[in-house]
Subunit: 201 residues, 2 copies
């Protein structure tokens, strides 16, 4: 009755994945045992095999989940933007928000990608590539002086900047967010958007 309130099955998986992400982030995929993950959600050990085919399957689902969310989210924010300049700003803001909200996912995704089996790793890499491509086109729409390779290098570097969040002893979320947005846009060589009249938000 306690945990069976809303949508038992689906949310159970989510709950496990979330706990596993936290542990993977702290100790690394190979540094975490099945029993640890079980203990983190209040069941012990092999019970997890009722929900996942294997430990690797957890990692796979976790990583494809993140990459997928990033890709679709990134695309959505770019498409809904008025012009190229705000598209890039939206993208930066969105990724900053994601990184600040899900530090564990960011860490795992940077760190344990190569613990996946060949097939899954390819899937994730493909999604990542797509996400970077979103950045590259958004960036080149504003900075047409950049060739494709340079733009890609810039995108990787800025993603690195934003993704470094989990390692930094951060300020409170709000200041951190504005700081990172500013640094990212500066690094990308985007001229500061002039305040030009203070609108609502």
């Amino acid at each position: 009755m306690s945990t069976t309130a809303t949508g038992s099955t689906a949310s159970r998986r989510e709950q496990i994945l979330s706990a596993a992400a936290e542990l993977f982030a702290r100790y690394g995929f190979h540094g975490v045992g099945i029993d640890d993950i079980g203990a983190a959600v209040g069941v012990s050990g092999p019970a997890l095999y009722r929900h996942f085919r294997s430990k690797d399957a957890m990692l796979a689902e976790m990583l494809t989940g993140i990459s997928d969310k990033l890709l679709s989210g990134g695309r959505g924010h770019v498409e809904n933007a008025a012009d190229a300049a705000t598209a890039l700003e939206e993208l930066v803001g969105w990724h900053v928000e994601f990184a600040l909200t899900n530090p564990a996912l960011i860490t795992v995704h940077l760190r344990d990608l190569d613990s996946l089996c060949e097939a899954d790793r390819r899937r994730v890499r493909e999604l990542q590539r797509g996400y970077v491509e979103v950045w590259v086109t958004a960036l080149r729409a504003v900075r047409d002086d950049l060739d494709e390779h340079t733009a890609r290098a810039c995108a990787h570097a800025v993603l690195g900047l934003i993704n470094s969040t989990p390692h930094s002893a951060h300020l409170d979320a709000a200041t951190m967010s504005t700081l990172l947005r500013r640094m990212a846009l500066d690094a990308l060589g985007i001229p500061r958007t002039p305040p030009e009249g203070l609108h609502g938000r």
Copy 2:
């Protein structure tokens, strides 16, 4: 006779550490076996115990080595600089060069720190903290509008930017270097140094 040319013992350890770093970077500390490391240097398995007390000892020596090199190198570059502005530029340039030259070390140092035992981890963390402090003071000497916490967050973010190098499909080293230096300084809010007369180097 073949490998015994110059300084057998010392260079043997270095050779092993270098091979191990490459493997750790690709597969993660726990994803690499003793036998793998041995094979990478042409001996097989337990021979390594003639040179290191344990697998963990390898990682420990590797990580303290890097951190130590970064700290002393960073300090040196700052001290030898003419003024505060060039000190920061030197620091950026030095770290960029280090990251481009030793991608494997950077990766391992970001990824497998928590595989160390408590004591070693503390040692490494202390060195890292010192290095970041070098950045913080160098940065605040130029940007006196930043309080200490913000400066530290900036430093972490820029180190993240530069350290993302190993993951990016880079251009050739030279262009990558200038690109990263420019991005880092922009992110730190340092006004572009005017060319003001082309001196020798």
